[in-house]
Symmetry: C2
Subunit: 235 residues, 2 copies
């Protein structure tokens, strides 16, 4: 590598890491806000969150552009190359979490315009807080470069699935019992599904962070394949 | 660029493009198969499709690895760099389509184990064929390097949304009328949502192909923001 220009890699990697962390902070705030918009039927808050999502999309595009430019300089060592690719992939996963938070905020508008489905909102909120805690924990592990913590998040992905499966059953039971609640219940079902997908992104982020830190893929002994409450839905 | 080693770029880019196209062919077959598994209540077919998804995941990981390695050689010109980044992103979008097809196949198992919801399967099938046609068309446009065709796919994304919105209404109406059909209807609802998401990936692929071919982002005048049938769900 001595024939290549002096590396701008370390500085730009540090800036990229900083921007990923700002983006993660914004995404966590969007998820938390969306949960509050659902729980409090807060229409103004929901509208504000929906508008803010564009800023997250712009951050993702900018991080992607800079990560590709940095990779293309070919001045990076192996570990630095992994960090640059990781920035690219973390930004994509965070952007998807932002989209899912926006979708939850949109659905909260429909819930706020319908009769309340009071009994089901608290378990959705609990599932949301669990998912948000996973996202925060895995980003903390990434900042701390703590492989063990990232793996711990990855191993605990069935907690979210258990919540989702219980909610799926309860929401379907409500639909069968109360035809007037079907619309609100369908949107709650999609909110729960969106939260489960944010949880999956936290799991992806754990895998990306692990690969970045160790150069090894985290796979094979994942607790179970991507969750699906299908067995429970059988009559 | 004369001081860098002789470029292996064009050959490897050609190989990557070939592998992307093989991957796309497999994904299209998985989506088509999943639609048949739903329409024909074909349990054996569904199980086969679910197993095959691992091959698509492996192709994505391999294409990603090679695209990053190619980008890191820094021997690529601007257009070549765009093609390498495009390969990376196309593979990610195709892999997600494969996951969604697997999820549809899994849900078809639940539908096959439940009472048939006959009236709603044909419109889901029609929506699925429309989505599959979009995916095929945009990959054809990419192979032909035909910017106009890619843009045409991108502009027509509301066709899928219209189908999805009509289905969403009809499925909710069925749930309200027939409590015994709630479980099957909920899985059909998620199948429709998965098809809509495959349609969104076709739109993403059109954007990626456009950027690859022109160096310009396709944005701003997209027919409308990401679809959501929320207005229709209001009582």
């Amino acid at each position: 590598m001595s024939s290549t220009p002096a590396s701008a890699g370390p500085d730009e990697l540090r800036r990229l890491a900083g921007d990923i962390n700002r983006m993660a902070g914004l995404v966590e705030a969007q998820v938390a806000g969306a949960l509050e918009a659902v729980a409090r039927r807060d229409v103004a808050r929901a509208r504000e969150l929906i508008e803010k999502d564009a800023a997250i999309d712009a951050m993702q595009a900018e991080i992607e552009r800079r990560a590709v430019a940095l990779i293309a300089t070919r001045t990076l060592g192996d570990g630095e190359l992994r960090r640059a690719v990781s920035a690219l992939k973390l930004a994509m996963n965070l952007e998807r979490c932002g989209d899912l938070a926006r979708n939850i905020a949109k659905r909260s508008l429909v819930l706020s315009a319908n009769e309340p489905v009071l009994a089901l909102v608290p378990p959705v909120d609990r599932m949301g807080r669990l998912v948000l805690a996973r996202l925060t924990e895995v980003m903390d592990a990434h900042i701390a470069r703590d492989v063990g913590r990232a793996v711990a998040v990855w191993r605990r992905d069935e907690e979210v699935d258990d919540h989702y499966e219980a909610l799926f059953r309860d929401i379907l039971a409500l639909m069968a019992q109360d035809p007037g609640a079907v619309t609100a219940a369908a949107h709650l079902l999609f909110i729960a599904k969106n939260l489960e997908r944010i949880g999956d992104h936290a799991t992806n982020i754990a895998e990306i962070a692990h690969y970045e830190m160790t150069g090894e893929a985290l796979a094979g002994d994942r607790p179970k394949p991507p969750p699906d409450p299908l067995e429970l839905a059988r009559p």
